[in-house]
Amino acid sequence: MGLNIVVCVKNVPSTLTVDVGPDGQPKTAGLVCAMNAFDEYAVEEAVRIKERVPGSTVTALTLGPEADQAVLRDALSRGCDAAAHVCGPEFAGSDVFATSKALAAAIRKLSAQKPVHLALFGKNSNDGNSGAVGGMVAAWLDWPGVLSVKKVESVDESSAVLWRMMEDGVDVVKVSLPAAVGTVKEINEPRIPSLKGKMAAKKAVIPKWTASDLGLKPEEVGLAGSKTKVARCTHPPARGAGTRVEGASSAEKAAKLVDILVERKLI
């Protein structure tokens, strides 16, 4: 018994300061990459559920080029038991539609070995920022998909009670499993990788799956299987130079500030 949990992770540039190349695309070559920060919370939650429900296992899953194997080893060092890497030149240029389709196919492949109960996701990636892949994987698999989850109140092999952070409060919902769950940062405090975990991660054998391994045609993935394409990126316009409020006293500064706020109809 126990739960078979999948957690999806992404290797992203560690910086947000990215230049644009002559082709109009972000210049990411050579940037230092690491696990997307939000995914650390999803990994931690997967491991915590494993610890709560005896007999559970966690498999980390990613889609990306060869070098992204590093993010799976990082996930293993944080307590995941196994990993799988969706990888191949045919996946280049995948948008959220093609990415989610391939990840859903990989989860189906894992389910064929042993049914998957739960797929966990971070809030969004720090490069693409969509936060769509978790919800779309749910749709491909025809599972319920609950995003913005801040607490897993209870979970067993058949259902989970989840706290969903809405803009105006918190929803408590019960979903039957299998289900996909998108997490938010408030859900936990991720632990740091253990030495034992790092050793195990180093030795782990990680299978690589191409589109054909997932039963997908090359034209169903990558740019060909995508529904959107980033034509070009630009830097947002810089803010104009601001006004500095000067004054001999704090009272004078306060009065001048309020003058400006009123004059510009900001209050």
Partner: protein, 326 residues
């Protein structure tokens, strides 16, 4: 006549969302440009709420006030929208960029074989949209390789559609025939009464590391109250336990676009700027005149916030009093 533009109006817990009016104004512009009708699907509202959507620009409204749509059930809400989409064959589906809209958009895009763009900030009639990438450090022009576009629209960017009394349009009941759902709603716990939500706030006053303590956050609340603003915070303040996470603005918190953002004791690390640089005007109050926030600010005030805030509050009250007297 080209394919319609479909706006998804979600009346969760029976309440119309102000973001729906923003979607209607964007949708109206797109529909006019492509000479196509603007259709709204209203989930969780009756004919009266549907009439208001017509008065705010919809040519046709398909409404269902099914009880199961009072709370977000992403499976059932998607079924209702898909039922409307099957009838209308829309070129674009517009949703709010909130938890409900984003949850639905994922399912709709897969089921409609549509191109999905989240948090769009501009929509061109020709089809391209703009959205942020790398947390707003880049703006991406997104093109579509699919006949249908599913878009969630960033809040506070588009003027809400005004109500034109007596504007005519069709109002039809959507005979909602839901399939199974595996999601059961248990309860909803609202935020503290009287708190203004960051996502729809016109003004926000935020405190950062410079606030220096949980008790001292009362100064931020006081200024927010005087300005009619929501209370925000930087990650440093939240991580220190001075204020709950839901107030956090920035990369790991909320992205906001108020008219006025007042940053008190926030140095302006890139992660915080990512969440608020879309504000129309930024006021920075900081003891360090050279910190990044002071350099980004529309109006920068160097000084001690605990000295300045009471004076600003008094000044605002004085003028409000004067305005009332006049």
């Amino acid at each position: 006549m080209s394919q319609p533009i479909l706006v998804v109006a979600l009346n969760l817990r029976g309440r119309a969302s102000p973001q729906t009016w923003e979607l209607l104004s964007v949708g109206r512009r797109l529909a006019d440009a492509s000479k196509s009708p603007l259709v709204a699907v209203l989930a969780g509202g009756g004919p009266e709420a549907a009439r208001e959507l017509v008065e705010r620009g919809a040519d046709r409204v398909l409404w269902t006030d099914d009880d199961r749509l009072q709370e977000l059930n992403e499976e059932l809400h998607a079924q209702a929208v898909l039922q409307a989409a099957a009838k209308e064959n829309p070129a674009a589906v517009l949703l709010p960029s909130n938890v409900a809209g984003r949850s639905l958009a994922c399912r709709l895009a897969v089921k409609l074989g549509a191109g999905l763009a989240m948090d769009v900030s501009e929509i061109e009639a020709a089809g391209q949209v703009k959205r942020g990438a790398y947390s707003g450090n880049l703006v991406a022009d997104v093109e579509f390789q699919a006949p249908v576009r599913v878009l969630t629209v960033t809040a506070m960017l588009f003027a809400p559609a005004a109500r034109q009394a007596g504007r005519s349009g069709e109002v039809q009941e959507l005979k909602f025939a839901p399939g199974p759902t595996r999601t059961e709603f248990k309860s909803f716990q609202a935020e503290e009464a009287g708190e203004i939500d960051l996502g729809s706030a016109e003004r926000i006053v935020s405190g950062g590391r410079g606030v220096g303590g949980k008790d001292k956050f009362s100064a931020i609340r006081e200024l927010a109250h005087a300005l009619g603003a929501a209370v925000g915070a930087s990650r440093a303040a939240v991580d220190s336990g001075w204020i709950p996470y839901r107030h956090q603005v920035g990369l790991t918190g909320r992205t906001v676009r108020p008219k006025l953002y007042v940053a008190c004791g926030i140095s302006g690390q890139i992660q915080h700027l990512a969440g608020m640089s879309g504000a129309n005007a930024i006021v920075a109050i900081n003891t360090d005149p050279e910190c990044p926030m002071m350099q980004q600010a529309t109006v920068a005030v160097a000084g001690d916030m605990f000295e300045l805030i009471p004076l600003i509050v008094a000044e605002v009250k004085k003028r409000k009093g004067a305005a009332v007297a006049a």
